[in-house]
Symmetry: C2
Subunit: 426 residues, 2 copies
């Protein structure tokens, strides 16, 4: 069994883990050696992770953490309760524990929080041969792509791609080989911004420096990928009125708990909509046909709003939309809204006339629909952009807010126009 | 001016490009040397790209393409019209043109379509020293992380990380140094699947082989990242009823054109909703208060459906949801729906009673809301999962479909329950 397991890649074992029962999972986990167990632990979702850790002795956790890359060990420790965390750190190798404590000072979602402090750095006077010799004895978990050159204060001076080092004359000092035009990120920079940097400049690894320019770690592309994936999930699920944790949970009650808050906000909005309609109860009683097109006003307003807000939220995330473009974007979107509002308003007036036989009904529905869509699209730009400026996640500012307010304003517009026109004509 | 430009990173120039007028953009572009111009061209969105290419002579395009990595050159060529493309390939360096023609045989969204054919491969008998010497003379655009070892038929035997090569004894044949347990992808594999592989196994580069196991190229992590970003944008915007092209276009009319199709589908759905309501016109006229809660039925059904479908779509994309889990997932989601449906139904009956003063209204709204939510959540699992099984993008199957059908079924449920209960009690 053990030897069969050793032939599997840890990522495959992690994938299998998820479909096992709790008991099977623990049995399988016990069979793994520390290194593989550590990798598997890193590969499963946080719920499975917590389950597996729960059954381990503190000393077993410490052994696993010793076998992990430092950044992953720090992440895992961050999930334990403080008391447990301190005890585990006490049992671990002194040196590793110190490095992890250092690493845990950085915020989870900062560049420092996702970097690994294991960097291979040398002084500029070292020759290519000396550096290669040092490489031979270095023990690093991650692959090395570049050598970093630092001065005595630890400040980053430049970097030498491994290939350049290999092919250089042996006695060449790395100070002469290095590229000095290095893109770096600050340790306290937001992880998403750091990831965008790496993506923008097509880097496989990006060095992290502290406020004094001292090299403190590096972020590799696989960490960057994880951040981008996480942020995309976050945006998508927040726009849908839930959170990214919903991907990691399998329990019915926790899933319900993650979805109910936004549904309650929505229910409150619906109550306001009902109050609006009740206010126009006399108009409704007079022309019941008005009710037939409540779905159209709501759905068309809602959908055009979501189209816009999703475009803005994704644009802000990928960098095609910039913070300072609010006015330009708003102007453009209002023009887009005029086009789509008029097309849809015109088309909607046809079934409105056809179903009720009243041309006035066609006019009311067409005009209201166009207005509701224009308002919805405007909100679709405004809320996420304002959220972004105020430091609120645009996806949070967009999702719940837009749908609920659009429903209410759409209905207000519809019944205001309807009651006015009906009064004028009758 | 030229020298100031040469100090800027091409990614920064590309970013600036977007905010310039067409004329400024062309002037700036003319000032760049071929290599930088090629990089800038690769960094801007496809609309800007097309604009810049339009103003160039075929010979200028050929010069730019000669200066580009092959995979990017192939992508760019793919955007030209066939006649232009063939002419440009004729003017280009013979060798490069042949490689690009070869590359363009792969589908755009396959592993072959995003790989670069520039690989550094050696036979297993070569010694570390010979390989290093060969490296010295190789001209490759991308960074090298590993050396690939192939046999005489070009089949991949293994790979040697650069660091292992550096630190090995000079006379060691690479056949003895190589790792043989290499994860590869097939050239015809879907790009997203290939990217997921790289992500799953934490690879910085993944070798691409043809159906005979011959090494034909490699995909680096920066290409993988672009794919993941593209796929995330695609899912998000398709769920919102538009397409990923909307991020790249700045024209009002093209934006409107990208949004209108789904709005028209929605309008059709709204017409069906209106027909349903017209059918229940007598019930509505009898109890106008029923209209007050049309928004609640629609919004709560719609939102719980979107929460579910977005979770499923994202889960399928990130691999937390698997194709064969349909029944398990469906069962779990129905239980989630029972919980949230009952909570929300119960809560919704309060404003329904309060606004109308009729306890029967509270009952009708509560029960209908719960039923509409359960149906919506079920659809939220069913449509994307079925779409996925049938090879339809789950995001497409989810987005437009769910919202529209939920509105109609929700209203049918509401008025069916309302007319039945009203008849029973009166």
């Amino acid at each position: 069994m053990k030897s069969a397991l050793s032939r599997l890649h840890s990522a495959d074992i992690a994938e299998t883990m998820v479909s096992l029962t709790d008991e099977e999972r623990e049995t399988l986990f016990q069979l793994l050696d520390d290194r593989t167990a550590a990798e598997v632990l890193d590969g499963v979702d946080s719920e499975t992770q917590a389950g597996l850790l729960d059954d381990l002795e503190l000393s077993e956790i410490a052994a696993l953490l010793n076998a992990m890359p430092l950044d992953e060990a720090a992440d895992l420790l961050g999930q334990l309760e403080e008391k447990e965390r301190l005890s585990v750190l006490q049992i671990m190798k002194q040196e590793t524990a110190d490095k992890i404590r250092q690493l845990m000072k950085h915020k989870d979602d900062s560049a420092g929080g996702i970097m690994t402090p294991e960097i291979f750095s040398v002084y500029p006077e070292k020759t290519a041969e000396e550096v290669i010799d040092k490489l031979r004895h270095a023990s690093l978990a991650d692959e090395i792509i570049s050598i970093y050159v630092v001065n005595e204060q630890g400040r980053l001076l430049g970097m030498v791609p491994l290939r350049k080092l290999i092919t250089a004359p042996k006695d060449q000092p790395v100070g002469k080989l290095m590229l000095t035009d290095v893109v770096t990120v600050q340790a306290d920079m937001d992880q998403e911004e750091a990831a965008r940097y790496a993506l923008k400049y097509d880097l496989l690894a990006i060095p992290v420096v502290d406020t004094d320019g001292r090299l403190v770690g590096r972020i590799t592309m696989d960490d960057v990928m994880e951040v981008m994936e996480e942020e995309a999930s976050q945006d998508m699920l927040r726009l849908a009125g839930t959170t990214e944790q919903t991907l990691e949970t399998r329990s019915v009650l926790s899933t319900a708990r993650l979805r109910i808050p936004w549904l309650l906000v929505c229910l409150l909005g619906c109550t306001l909509s009902a109050i609006v309609l009740e206010h126009f109860g006399a108009t409704l009683a007079e022309a019941v046909a008005l009710a037939f097109f409540i779905p159209a006003i709501m759905a068309m307003g809602g959908n055009s709003g979501i189209q816009t807000s999703t475009t803005v939220v994704r644009g802000l995330a990928t960098g095609t939309v910039k913070k300072d473009q609010l006015y330009g974007l708003l102007l453009r979107e209002i023009r887009v809204a005029l086009v789509i509002g008029m097309v849809c308003g015109l088309l909607a007036s046809i079934p409105a006339y056809w179903l009720t036989g009243m041309w006035l009904m066609g006019l009311i529905v067409g005009v209201s629909l166009a207005c509701a869509m224009i308002v919805a699209v405007t909100g679709g730009v405004l809320w996420p952009m304002l959220g972004h400026s105020l430091g609120i996640d645009p996806a949070v500012a967009a999702g719940p807010f837009i749908t609920t307010t659009n429903d209410i304003t759409g209905l207000l517009i519809y019944f205001f126009i309807a009651s006015t026109l009906l009064r004028l004509w009758n």
